[in-house]
């Protein structure tokens, strides 16, 4: 029977939630790696028992964990994330040059074809790759050494490479996003990169239409439309139909277009989900009502989804890596909050239930569809 496995990374450990295809009754295991920050866990799409996890603390730095049995057992893998060559500088918060310093792995993106190949997005922004299942990591330096690197600057959460999308149409095409540098695309497996920020407009940077410097929070793509991207920017929800070469705003009737998470329905490439957050100063939902907004028209026209979600006195945030969809016939949608709730909808967002409440601050949510 089909089922799902939800991988939850929190500020104090990881949790694995499983259910059968009805997604009504959940088994919650954890905390795994209790006390450690688990920025991201993700499974291979070609071997669902192969999981990777980013484990870190400010005291002890970065570790990478790997499971080959669906999360029952884990082993520490290589954790030497050394930048390739001279690191140079990026801008610090005050605009002065600051040397690149590795802090942590924000996002792990397993290959679509090989469970031993994984891309890792790190802070300070860089892209690393393993070809041996996490034993060793090498930087793909073409991104960091792109000519605009000295102009990149950190967002409030650090200068993190948080989004990695490998095109399902051509694995050599990779999209990434950095806060606060913007979005970039490689068409040669990460050797060279170009900024893809045309059409983004950001108040708070000297040139509001600059080639780089935009605080992109998250990008999502539907596998059947590899050239169509949806973006939640610091402010503004954006869309591109030419692989990021040009963007247009699709915020439409959202109550606020600030937010972090964005995702696309598994079977409806024009159905998009966001969670509006009040503002860059107020990281909680407008009016204390936790609402997912769904567009069935690829943006601009949005409807609030509220059934089962708190509609009073709710002041949590939903972080950029904390939303995911499964690929069961009736698409499941999942998200986690900074208040420690993980919500699931088994009907495309029409109704919601909490899988679990009162976890530590949820940093990431991924879901695996199991056959």
């Amino acid at each position: 029977m089909s089922g799902v496995r939800v991988l939850v990374g929190t500020s104090k450990g990881a949790f694995i939630c499983t259910a059968d295809g009805t997604r009504r009754d959940w088994n919650v295991e954890g905390p795994l790696f209790g006390g450690w920050e688990m920025y991201h866990l993700k499974g291979s799409s070609v071997d669902t028992d192969r999981l990777y996890a980013s484990q870190s603390t400010g005291w002890h730095g970065q570790l990478i964990q790997r499971s080959d049995d669906g999360g029952r057992t884990w082993r520490a893998m290589g954790n030497d994330f050394a930048y390739d060559g001279a690191t140079g500088t990026h801008q610090w918060y005050d605009g002065t040059p600051h040397p690149w310093e590795f802090a942590r792995v924000w996002h792990l993106e397993p290959s679509l074809t090989d469970p031993d190949v994984v891309l890792a997005g790190v802070e300070d922004a860089g892209l690393f790759r393993t070809d041996d299942g996490g034993t060793s990591w090498r930087e793909l330096p073409g991104l960091r050494t792109h000519g605009s690197g000295p102009k990149w600057q950190p967002g409030a959460g650090g200068m993190c490479l948080h989004t990695i999308i490998v095109s399902p149409a051509d694995e050599r095409r990779i999209f990434i996003a950095i806060s606060a540098a913007g979005a970039f695309r490689s068409d040669d497996a990460g050797a060279t990169w170009k900024p893809i920020n045309k059409g983004l407009h950001s108040e708070g940077i000297p040139d509001e239409d600059a080639e780089v410097g935009h605080c992109v929070h998250r990008i999502a793509l539907h596998p059947s439309r590899p050239d169509t991207l949806f973006m939640q920017k610091h402010w503004d929800v954006m869309r591109s139909d030419d692989a990021g070469d040009n963007w247009s705003e699709v915020s439409g009737n959202l109550p606020t277009d600030f937010g972090f998470a964005i995702d696309v329905h598994a079977h409806e490439p024009e159905t998009v989900y966001v969670v509006p957050i009040t503002s860059d100063a107020e990281h909680y939902p407008p009016e204390g009502k936790l609402r997912v907004y769904r567009s069935r028209t690829g943006g601009n026209e949005w409807e609030p989804l509220t059934k089962g979600l708190p509609q009073a006195n709710c002041y949590v945030d939903v972080l950029r890596d904390a939303m995911a969809v499964d690929s069961l016939d009736d698409c499941g949608v999942y998200f986690g909050t900074t208040g420690g709730q993980v919500y699931a909808s088994a009907d495309g967002g029409d109704t919601w239930d909490a899988i679990v409440r009162d976890l530590p601050r949820v940093l990431s949510v991924e879901v695996q569809t199991l056959s």
């Binding site: 790696f33 002890h60 730095g61 970065q62 570790l63 030497d80």
Partner: protein, 98 residues
């Protein structure tokens, strides 16, 4: 036999909740002790000191015999009571909380 105490996060990592006992070649220095620790528990590489520079991580301190040895040279011999196993070498994570 050298006695070593590691902080809670690292105890969790290595699955060892008591003092660690290590054989360390003479002369017993910070560098040799940490080399022996990482050889015994490879998962600790990078968690106490940087893997390439071997510099102590910013929020880590080394205490022994009621002294802070964090700023002692890596190749200086450790106190006699550590070398004889009378006192542990304590790896400490900076206090945080509130």
């Amino acid at each position: 036999m050298i006695r070593v105490v590691v902080p809670a996060h690292l105890k969790t990592l290595i699955g060892e909740h008591h003092e660690i006992r290590l054989d360390v070649d003479e002369p017993v220095t910070q560098r040799r002790l940490l080399d022996a620790l990482e050889a015994a528990y490879p998962v600790l590489r990078g968690t106490v000191r940087d893997q390439s520079t071997l510099k102590r991580r910013a929020f880590i301190r080394y205490f022994a015999c009621e002294e802070d040895l964090s700023h002692e040279p890596m190749d200086a011999e450790l106190p006699a009571r550590v070398r004889t196993g009378e006192e542990p070498f304590v790896i400490v994570g900076a206090m945080a909380g509130g």
